[in-house]
Structures are given as structure tokens and as C-alpha cells.
Symmetry: D2
Subunit: 458 residues, 4 copies
């Protein structure tokens, strides 16, 4: 039943086949596997390892197998243990013994390393694309709401007023770093391993640079033992994805908070909310909750494969087969979560009034008051304490800052003058006029810069 037997006479039983077969998940690599095989066949014939006519037959065979798969006509038989054997077996079925020449100067160990690198290059490109879409959505939402003020929070307590656009652009920055990290990962994965054989290199005069060019790789691997046992690029991609999902989980958390009855800063589009099986009034942010919840899944796949890789001796061990399912699930989850977030952000409605009301609450201008005293000559630490006492007083009197009389102010510091009443949310925003600050002018610049960055990169 098993295809490759070497000296083993007795077939593994079905339970073993089910436990060991990777075909149920690595079939997804068929395009990469066939592309690698076509390049390999061409290289073999170019260097006389197989004849040119054999190569033509093999390449045609492979191309028609790809068609069969894409047209749903290919039978992925359970007893074939992986995509490599599934394709090779079909090739021999189709073109006869010449198909048996394809695996010359190659091992499944370097073949799977190649396939996975081809996959990850593509997966990263898609992930960056979806990240860009979410960045677009954030920038658009920011631009459409340049006047909206929200409370800026620390410790989920109102701290200082900020522009909603400023808040949204914080996520733009996080996603920029995600793109940067993913591009570094792609660069490091961009290494062609074929020619490493099972572990020690091959005994044929293979042209590894030709293979790299054919398959669009930057460079070739430098050590055969490493090339067949290296899965750093899988781990790095999963780590990058974990950080990216962490970012999305923060965004999701804020969307959940902001669409609560208590905050009420935004309203989700119905397409991104869900009803309840029992409570007809509910409009639940299920989609955001799932983004937050699926973060665990992506972390888990990282931890899983780190564990799997721990303490494996060189070179290839079958444990490495565990690389794929987690990687695929990670990429799929991140891609879908980015797309979902882009849709959710694009369609939500901002409730500027509620946000403004919340931003006006409490003593959110206290820092501005302390800075006012500093500018009048008080040392910052003293100013901070004076304002602290003033606010304790106001809390006790149940007055807002605007409701305090100048006499009351003066009880706390002689430096207070009439101009203390010109401290407003607007003045507070405008005063934070540093690079990266929330002053409307600065935020407008940041929006412009973000749009430019997206335009250039996308």
C-alpha cells in the first residue's frame, strides 16, 4: 500500500498510514511542488543528467497533472503519503518509466523545503496585501473624521483628549511594522534549497543557480544539512503573525468597547454584527470578538512548532512534517482577520457626539492645567501636586474645572489668572504640536504621510 518501500517488505497498516500521511494537508502545495519539479526537470536536461526529450515529456506530464488538479479531476489517494508521491505516482502512471527519472538528484527532503519556501513567499505577499487594505481603511476612516475628538485613555481612564484620527493612525503604525517584519521574513526565506539532496548534497552535476533563477529565488542555500532541516522561516512567519494578531486583538478590543452601550463611540455595520438566538434586541460585535479570540489560535501554532523543533538532532526528522498545518492555519487566520477588520473598519459609523461628550467628562484637561503652571514658572513636579489638590477639591465640590471661580483657583496657586479659562479641549489638542502629537495640524500631516506610504508601497 505504501508507495516507497526501500527494503521494507511489509506494508504499514491503515492506522499508521492515516497517522503519517501528510496528503490531507500538503495537497495545497501542488502548484509549488509542480513548479519545482518542472524547474528541476529542465535543469536535469540542461546539464545532460536526463535527455532533453525526457524532460519535455516530464514537463508536459506535470503540466497536465496541474490541470487535472485544478479541474478537480485528480484523485488524491489516501495511500500516497504526500503531495510529492501523489504527483510522481500519477506522472509515472501517465508517462511511464521516464517519470521515474524526475527524482534523480533530488530527495523529498530538499523538495519539501523548496515547496514550503515557495508557499511562504506567496503567503507573505498576500498577507502584506491584506495588511495594506486594512491600513487604507484606517486612513480613510481617519480622514473622514478629522474633527472627531475622543478621550485618550491610559489604564482605560480618560487621560487627555485626542483626535479619533490620531488614535486610528496608531494602528496604521503597528501595521507598518508588521509589513516591515514580514518583508524581512520573506527576504530571509528567499533561499533555494534544491541540490541539497537527502542531507549531504547530490552526486550529480546540478546547476543550483539555474534552479534559483528559474524559480525566482535570490540566493541558494550554503549547507545541505542545514537546508533540509531548517524551518526558521516557518517560525519567523508564525512569530510575525502572532505580533500582527496581537495588534488586531487590540483593535478588536477597542471596537468592542467603543460599540458598547456605555461607550457608544461607534456603531458597527449590520454586516459585521450578529443577532442573538434568544435576545432580539442584541447587536453583537461577534466578528470583532472572533478576531480577538483567534489571536490565541495563532499564538498556539507558534508555540506548537517551537516545541516540535526543540532538541531535534540533524538533519531531517519526520517531526518536521508538523510544520505545515500550523503554518497554513496561521496564514489563513491572519489573512481572513485582516480582511474582516478592513471590512469592519470601512463600514462602521462614528458617533461624534457621544465621543465628544465622553471627552468632555472628568478632569481630562488637568495635564494642561499643570503645564499652564509650569509655563508661569512652577517646577513641573510642584505643578503636578498643586493640580492634584485642586482636582480633589473640585471632586468634593462636584464642580468641573470650568465651574471653579478664579478665587478658588487662586487658593491653590497665585499663578492662576483669567487665562486659565482659555484651556479647552481645542486648546489642549492644538498645544500637542510635536511630531507624532495629536494637534490637528500634525494629524493632518500624518494622514498625508500615511496615504503617501500606501501609495508608494502598494
Amino acid at each position: 500500500m505504501r508507495h516507497i518501500k526501500g527494503r521494507l517488505q511489509k506494508a504499514a497498516d491503515e492506522k499508521v498510514a492515516a497517522y503519517t500521511s501528510s496528503l490531507p494537508f500538503d495537497w495545497r502545495l501542488y502548484r509549488h511542488d509542480i513548479a519545482g519539479s518542472i524547474a528541476h526537470a529542465r535543469m536535469l536536461s540542461k546539464h545532460g543528467i536526463i535527455s532533453e526529450s525526457d524532460a519535455v515529456i516530464i514537463v508536459q506530464g506535470l503540466e497536465s497533472i496541474q490541470q487535472e488538479i485544478e479541474q478537480g479531476k485528480f484523485e488524491f489517494r489516501a495511500e500516497l503519503e504526500d503531495i510529492h508521491m501523489a504527483v510522481e505516482a500519477r506522472l509515472i502512471e501517465k508517462i511511464g518509466e521516464v517519470g521515474g527519472k524526475l527524482h534523480t538528484a533530488r530527495s523529498r527532503n530538499d523538495q519539501i523545503a523548496l515547496d514550503l519556501r515557495l508557499y511562504i513567499r506567496e503567503a507573505i505577499a498576500q498577507t502584506i496585501g491584506n495588511t495594506r487594505e486594512l491600513q487604507h481603511a484606517l486612513v480613510n476612516l481617519a480622514e473622514a473624521n478629522m474633527d472627531v475628538v475622543v478621550p485618550g485613555y491610559t489604564h482605560l481612564q480618560p487621560a487627555q483628549p485626542v483626535l479619533l484620527a490620531h488614535h486610528l493612525l496608531a494602528y496604521f503604525e503597528m501595521l507598518q511594522r508588521d509589513v516591515d517584519r514580514l518583508e524581512c521574513c520573506r527576504m530571509r526565506a528567499d533561499v533555494m534549497p534544491l541540490g541539497s539532496g537527502a542531507l549531504a548534497g547530490v552526486t550529480y552535476n546540478v546547476d543550483r543557480e539555474f534552479l534559483a533563477r528559474e524559480l525566482g529565488f535570490d540566493r541558494i542555500s550554503q549547507n545541505s544539512l542545514d537546508a533540509v532541516s531548517d524551518r526558521d522561516f516557518v517560525l519567523e512567519c508564525e512569530a510575525d503573525a502572532s505580533i500582527a494578531m496581537m495588534h488586531l486583538s487590540r483593535l478588536a478590543e477597542e471596537i468592542i468597547l467603543w460599540s458598547s452601550a456605555e461607550f457608544g463611540f461607534i456603531e458597527l455595520d449590520e454586516a459585521y454584527a450578529t443577532g442573538s438566538s434568544i435576545m432580539p434586541q442584541k447587536k453583537n460585535p461577534d466578528v470583532a470578538e472572533l478576531v480577538r479570540g483567534k489571536t490565541g489560535r495563532v499564538y498556539g501554532h507558534l508555540m506548537a512548532f517551537l516545541t516540535t523543533m526543540k532538541a531535534l538532532p540533524l538533519a531531517y526528522n519526520r517531526d518536521l512534517q508538523e510544520d505545515k498545518e500550523g503554518l497554513f492555519a496561521t496564514v489563513d487566520t491572519l489573512l481572513a482577520s485582516l480582511a474582516i477588520c478592513a471590512g469592519m473598519v470601512s463600514t462602521l459609523k462614528v458617533n461624534a457626539e457621544s465621543a465628544a461628550k465622553a471627552a468632555g467628562r472628568g478632569y481630562i484637561l488637568a495635564t494642561d492645567l499643570a503645564d499652564y503652571l509650569v509655563r508661569k514658572g512652577e517646577a513641573f513636579r510642584n505643578a503636578h501636586e498643586i493640580v492634584g489638590r485642586l482636582i480633589s477639591y473640585a471632586v468634593k465640590k462636584e464642580k468641573s474645572l470650568a465651574e471653579l471661580s478664579l478665587a478658588e483657583y487662586s487658593n491653590f496657586s497665585p499663578l492662576f489668572g483669567e487665562d486659565v479659562y482659555s484651556i479647552t479641549i481645542e486648546s489642549s489638542l492644538a498645544a500637542r504640536d510635536t511630531v507624532g502629537g495629536t494637534a490637528p495640524k500634525r494629524v493632518a500631516q500624518a494622514v498625508a504621510a500615511a496615504k503617501k506610504a500606501l501609495g508608494q508601497v502598494n
Copy 2:
């Protein structure tokens, strides 16, 4: 397109449906869901919440849906978001409006809590069953090889000779603890949550004790908010599974080591070994490697769901939907790994000669030599140092302990006499005659006790 809309007018788009639907994985709960619904319908009619005739129609409808599913005739339509809605929608299709009464006094929140508890009870029972099979295999292998000596290792260095049977029974003990832990988990999961409603209880006169009896539960939940948001039993099951996989990874590691050319203590049956696509001589312990590798996967699912559960406010949040895929994958992996290990252990051949040769190597009897001096009156710490110096000498002279003359012995301590030569592997084994020690007599008792434990429990 979405089935439950409440006040939501606009359908979620397909991408959202794909992102949020749990039907692709929770269909597996159909038996548990239907069993819960049948009990619920009976309870509703028993207490006059629905009529008896309605209940009969509903129960018949549910039973025929179960048949449809088991005969492969049920269409799991993608637009139905979960197994509960899929069953209810089909029920209404089949029996009309009366099907709409089934969800009275129930919410999907308590319904899924029920289904998952029914599932886990079953899953744990199966896991214990498979653990028992592996224990049987270990005890049988031990019993069939009572005379085989292997080096006992610490730090992978030969330390003291032990019986192979003694070594195998160490795994028996680990698996005993796994069974014990799983039984505690099952006991804690054995709580009936129906009647908790969405989060606050229900406004109907439900008979929760009746439901518990019908569904074979020990007790009912005591707080509705907790009942719909508690997933401790999932985490505990995943933690128990992680510890169990850790045990299997240790066994797998030893099987890999022992079947290496260098150790050579065992030979795997061909059904549990694999050939190579390029090296015809290879007989690889792939199956054991996958057991070791899949340990990561199980750890990962635990970490994933711990992460998901972190900091969720009460009560139900959609994040909880992430409980299922990881749990199913964990149970499936552990069940298969236990079964595979049982098969692998049952069929492997022991190479007693190689093992004995390895056990004779080095200075494995050094502890016995130190104990000899202690019995002659030396303080242990001194005896330990004397034997240390003696062995340094023997290493330098390239002599085994047996090859040292009495005069040489005497140079290190006057306490050495002719009887030092009666220290042998056999005497060493026999001397460890404590409960849990490797003396053949004790190991025979342990095998008997293990067989008894299996007989009683299974």
C-alpha cells in the same frame, strides 16, 4: 442569508459568514446536540411548557434528522452558522412551526455548554480506553522480556543496570496518572448547564434535575452566568492531554534512540517504520517521530485557548467559539497517538544481546562498589570518593572493574576483599530489592500488580 437576525436587517456578507460560522467543525456535535434537544423537549412537555403531542413530533423529527446525518443525507448548508441552527432549521423544514417551540426556555449559550460537556465525557472515556491499551502493550512487552537487562541511564549516560521490564513499567505508572487526571476532569465536567438560558436563568418552570437524569449527569450548575461562560473543563482536558503527550514524547524519544544503529536495543516492526525516497537502506522510526512532533500541537492548543480565555468579561462572548477546534484536534491527536504507540510497542522486537552488551559497558557497577565499602564500614561520602579515584585509575589503565587485581583494589581502600568480584550485573539488580526497585522479584510483583490494575479497571 443568516438565519438569526433579530433586529438586524442586512445580511452579513459571505466573507463574514465564513469567518464566523462554526458549522464546518461543530457539526461533529450533532449527536450530542440532538440528545440534548430530545431531553429538553421531553422536559418542556413534562412540565406543560409545550404540549405532549408537540414534544412527540419534535422528538421524532430530531431522531429522523440524526438518521439523515448518519446516512450522509443531511446537507450542512454553509449559511447556517452552527450545528444548533442547522438542526433547528431542518426541524422546522420537516415538522413546520411546531419546531420553533423547541428553543423555548433555552439559549444557544446553555445549549453549546451542554453539547460540549456531553462530548468531553465521551472523549475522555475513549482516551482512557486507548491509554489502557497502551498500558496493556507495555505490560505484555515487559512480561515477555523479564530477563532482559538494559543500561539504566541518567543524563543519557549508563548509570546502573535495570531490567527492561522495570523501565517499561515506568511508563505504565505515568499512564496511570494520566487516567487518574482524566477521570477527575470528567468528574468536574459532569455538570448539566441547561436552564441557564442566555446568561441569567430562564423565565419558565424548567426541571433541571430531570434534564440531568435524562442525560446522565451527576449534578446541575449552580450559577447561570458561570454556566454559560465556563470552559474550565476544556482547558483542564487540554492540560491533561498535554501531560499525556509529554509522556508519549518521552517513550517515542526512547524508541527512536533504542532503534538507532548505535543503541540497537530494539527493532521496530516494518509496519511502524518507513523507507526513504532516496536512501534504500533506511528503516526510519517515522511513526515515533510523529508522536514526538505532535506533542507540540497539543501544547499549542492548550496555549491557544488559555490565551483566548484571558480577560474575557462575563458572560458569553463569541471568543468562546474558539474552544472547539483545538479541543477536537487535541482529543483526536491523543487518541491516535495512544493507539499508534500501543501498536508500535506490541510489535517491536527486543534485541536482548545488544542491550546486555551495552549494560556491561563502562563502570555501571560503580555504585554497587561504593555501597560495598559502606557495608564494610566506610562513610558513604568517603566510599563515593574512593570509588571515584579507583575508576579514574581503571580508565587510565583501560581496564574494566573485573580486570583489576585485588592488589589494585587495595591501593584505594583496605576494605576491599575477594568478595568484591562477586559484584555483577545480576547481583546489582537483585540488591535493589525495595518497593519500586529493579530487583527481578520486585519487578515481577510490579508486573502482577499492573495486570491486576488493568483487569480491575478495564
Copy 3:
């Protein structure tokens, strides 16, 4: 420099000593180590392995070493690699060569297994104690606020009104399970390993049952190889702690939410809040944030040691030394977090007015409306849809349910009558009159049951 050298002539260098020494953290086990040694010495003399007078000297020596440590007079010298060697070296220093007899019939491998089990028994008892305190605090807060209504949330959207007390008791239930799990763990850890020697048992006539009795253990280990390499109890304790921290993280999240300006249901005592270095008005829930944040730490230690244990061959390997720091940190973190939460819960003030106002918001009684229709004869699924449409209408008209006229109600179903206006928050609460429901009567019973449980157990 290293104390134990065996045949090794050359001392490990300082860097190695620093890397390998466990004394910087395992000194904490001194009481357990000395208790174990005292029991061991008594056993040795009871069975004539050492003389009675030697045992007396050894026991006195050990007792005086314990005094030295507790009085801060003991020098933990860096070059002694662990607590066992530190104590033994000091013993020999104090009482001479007879101290060298203590290690007869023992190995550090079974000694550390013993010490750690003694530690974990104690640690679990303390953890249960602190859990009880938090449960007390929750029940007291519940009892003191039996009239307070809060919105019950699902998806952080108001779903149905619940009593605050009911909500608090959900945490009581979680903590009950934590206690239960920890007690099972303690029971499984309650196994005496001494007599297992390095790995194979010992060659002396040791009385393991005597040791178990002396040290208060339930039973003795049954396999020496397993006894020295088993750390299941560490992993299980860490898994239980992870679940417990998850519970605390949920409580912390709710405390953070509830003390936000937007929710405003509670006010933290100043002892459990913190000011800001720059914003004088802030009263931040830092303590709750740290409870939430430290959850990661506890998960991390679990994952760390699961990784360490993966694929270790039998028996003892030095990797096992990594068991201690993570376990100590886990126990310390959980103990402190429980104590902190108990203090925070005991001292917080409930703002019943804000909570009631929030509970009155939105259409939180919609489920009761649907149940009303069901009781008038509508099938639940229809009732759910009717109320859904009704609420869409009310939202559009910007009316609360109470503000709708009977004519408006009747447009949606002829079943509505005057009695629809008797659906209130109070009626909603009272109607959930099932075991575990939020009806005031039921909650009062639950509080009573909780107090009884605490009384019995504590």
C-alpha cells in the same frame, strides 16, 4: 570548586558554575530538605544502616543548620551547586565525617523529588487558603449589595438584568473549581519517592513506609525510574494555576471596565488605585491591570516546563532542574494575586445608581417580551422574530419599550395586552426563578450556600 567530583579532576569554571548552580533559587527548599534528611537519618538508624548515636548527631546537626538559615547566619556559598550539597557540606563541617553517612541509600535524584513534593503540598495548601479569602470577599460584597442590579452582558452588550450578587457568585463558582482541582493535584503529589535512589532503587534495606509516615505522605512511589523523573505534579500545579489566573484575569477585566468613567459601577479604594506621573486627575486601576497582565507570566511558566519535559529519555536529566524557578514564580504570583484581589474586592465601593441606570438602558427586557408572547401561545422562534421587528421599530422611533402604546404593540402581534406594561426589571429578575438563576430568592439561597461551603471547608 565543585563539591561532587567523582572521577572528574578538573573543576568547572565559574561561568559553568553560575550556569548550572540551582542554589540561587532552590535554597528556598531548605526546610523541606532538612525535614527529609532528618526522616532519612532516623530510618537509617532504625534499620541499623547507621548507628543510633550517629543518627542523633546528624539530626542535631541538621536542626542547628536550619536554625542558622532561619537566623540569617548560613552562608549560601555560590560554589555549592544546590541546597542538598549546601546542607551536607555544612553538616560535615559541623559534625565531621559522620555527616558523610547521611547520603547512604539516597541520591540527589530521589532527594529533590521528595523536597519538591513537600514544597508543593504546602504551596497548594496556601493557595487554597488565599482562594478561600477571595471567595469570602466576593460573598461579603454580594451580601452587602443584594439589591443592586447591573446589566448582564453577553458580547459586552446589555442582555438581561442581573443582580450584582449573582454576577459576583459566578466568580465564587470558578474559584470552587480551582480549589477542587488543586486538591486533586495535591492528592496526586502525595507520594513519597525516597528509596528510589539514583534511578534503580537502593541496595539497602530501607523502610519506605516509615519514611512516608514520618513525612506525612499517603503512599510511596511504585517505580524507581519513574519516581526520579516524574514532574507531572509540577505541570499539573502550573496548569491549575493557569486556569486560576485566567479566572482572576476575567475579574480584573471587569473591575477595570466597571471602574471606567463610562461604566462607573464601582469605585476602587485608593489603596488599590494609583495616580499618574503627569496627569493629576487620574485614579488608575493599576492593581487590577497587573493581575490581568501577570496571567501571561503564569501561562508562560506552564508552557516553559511543558517544553522542557518534552522528549526527555528516562531517567533523571539535568533539564529537570528547570522545574523549580517557574514553579516558585507561579505559586508566588498566584498567591499574591489572590490576596490582592481579595483586598481589592473587600474595599471597593459599589455605585448602585450608575449600575441601575445602565441596567435600564436599551431594550434589556426584550427576552422577557418574547417569553411573554410564548406564554400567550406563540412559538418561541416566532415570538423572537416579532420582538425583533418591534425593537427595530422602537429604535427608529427612538422610544423605549415603556413608551410604546398598546396600539403600537398590537401592530406586531395581537397577543399583546395591557399586562405587557408589567414587564419590568424587577419582574424580569424575579421570573428567572430556577436553580442558578438570578431571581433574588435564588441568589439569596446561593449566598447562603456559599457561606456554608466556606464555613465547612475553611
Copy 4:
């Protein structure tokens, strides 16, 4: 007792102080904190926010505090909550009220972000340095043993002979990627956050570019909310460290295997081995075991902080304080493990004879035999099957390949000729003459390239 109180009148109690204080671990950042403060003071005076003379006094005060700390004269008082407050409090103590001006235009939120970035820049530089040392050690060991052949393993089964040097260089490649990853991480961390204030920017005319230049940063942060809540660089560093430790765990595993009695390829220097408390003959690879074991610890810290960061709303939350301990422990562990491995590799002895003997065992040249047939015209897949049957025959006859007669060979394929006997380990090595292959010529080139890389980079 707490230093910063704002409007809080009541001091947090001791338990809370102990729970929340970061001083016990963040004191390590004193150099970075003081450097940041000095640059900040200079900037403030340069732009007239404080006077030049105030700045001079502040800078001198800070410098003398640094001296106090480095001379062990500084008292880290427990009631000061973090390194920032400890330094500021001492500053005010020393220079009076003017010290209170230092915190103008700054918040602890941007200050700690700065300190941690300064720390990580340094930590990464040290880690790269230690990685280079291990690479040196590997290359030196390779160069000193260019003739040594070892079995190349896949699945821990001998697969094809390789040069030991080739095997060692595989680790060189892994470490190259670690360096590359760490450099990318450092680059991404190289962002100056001061001027972001608490969360929204500051109301002073700060010169952020000046600060960046003073502190040697590449660029400044672009969004204040992001700048105070971004810990990506911590996570990325921990992920890079996890991959690096994974590499070291593989090396450690091989060192453990290779120094076992069964493999015997190397002998550890006594400085890197340990004796046994009970078995005097033992020479245990404890150091390598701890490297392997500590891998778990580093993974755990990554998982811990990923968990902590999950779903935190913007901007700063106290949970972020959990960033430091894990990061410090990660860096410390990796630094020490790299140094230890460098020492261990530098001092181990290679047993060329044992290695050669192992490489000669089994049918390690089978692939070469199949390639021989391919070169004579057989299709690879057929050649593979023929050699499989041939080896089954040889196993049955208990003959090595060299012991088979040509007649016996010919029974399996007519293509075999006398030249089959010229397939030897040497010919096998030489034939793998591809870039990255194990041919001695190629390995010599790789050693030269590695030395050049080290020379250039270091």
C-alpha cells in the same frame, strides 16, 4: 508611602506596593534612565523650557546618582515604585526643587519606552557578540577536524557519510540567520519615543530630533499613542531569542547524543561535565542538558508577553510593566547559553575513530549505489528499488556491501560491474561536489567563507 499621588490621599498598603513596584527588576535600567534624563535636560535648556543653569545642576545631579549606584551607595527604597521615581526622588533630595523640573514635557510612559529601547539596543549587540563567539568556536572545531567523517543522520538513522566539519557548519548557518534576525530587530527598535508624553504628545516645544541624535537613535516615533504602548520590539526580540535557543537546543541534543557511551563521537572537557552524587563513574553532560532545558524558559517568556499584550486597549496600561522581567531573563539566558556553548564546543575532544567506525556501519553507501545505476542508465525510481532489494538480500545474508560478490550484485541488475567496488566513503563524500555539499573541497570553501564572514562582521 507612594511617591506619586495626584489626587489620591490614602497610601496603598505594603502588599499593594510589593505587588506593583517594578524597582526590584527595573533598577537594571538605571544607566539608560539617566542617559535619557541627561539628554532630556539638555534639550529642555537648549529650547529655553528650563534655564541653562538648571540643566547643568540637573545633569551633574544625575551623573553623581549614577556614580552612587555604580559604587553601591544608592539605596533602592522599596516604597519608590520604579527606577524613574527612585532617580527623580534622589535628584530632588540632592539638588532641591530644581530637580522637579526634569519631568517637564515628559511622562513615565514615554520615559520607560525610551529606557527599554536603549536597553534592547545594547542587549542585541551583546547577543550578536556572543553568537559570533560560538560561530568562531564551531568554525575552529571544524577546521581542526577536516578529515573526520561522521554518519550523516536522518531520523537518527545513518543515511550518508558527511564530514564532521560540514555538520558543524550547519550550526554556523543557523547562527548567521540569528544574527540577521537580531539586526533587523535592533533596526526596528531604533526609534526615539520621547516627546510622546503620556499618550498625546506634549505641550512644549520639544526638539525630538535633537534627542534622537543625543541618544544615537536613527529616527523618531511618528504617533504618540503608538509610541507609549508599542512593545513589538520586546516580542520580536523574544521571538528571535526563542529561535536562537531552539538552535542551541539542537546542538545540545547532539552533544548529549555524541558523548553517550553508544555514540562516543566526542568527549566533553571536564569543565563542561559533572559528576554524580551517587554514581562515581559518571561524567554527565549537564551543561548541554541545561542549554536544552532552558529553551523552555525562553519560549515561556515569549508566550507570557504575547498573552499579556493580547487585547489591551490603547494607550498605556499597567500590564505593560510585565515586559521587563521576561525580557531580561530571556536576554540573560540566551547570552549565558551562547557563552557556555562556545566554551563547550571549544574544549571538547573529537573521537575520530569512533565516528569513522559508526560511519562505516550499515548500508550507508546505498544511495551512492543507486546513483551508480542511474549513471549506467537506470531510471532513478527503478535504481532505488533494485538497491532496496539488494540490501534486503545483504541483510539476510549478513554481508556488508563490500562482501557481496559481483555475481550477487548481478542478480539484481546487469548494470553492475567491477567498478561497483570503488564506491567508498571517500568516493561518496567527494561525489557530493555541489555548493553546500559535503565534498571536502566544498567544505573547505565553506570554512573559508565562514571565517571571512566572521572577520568582516565582527
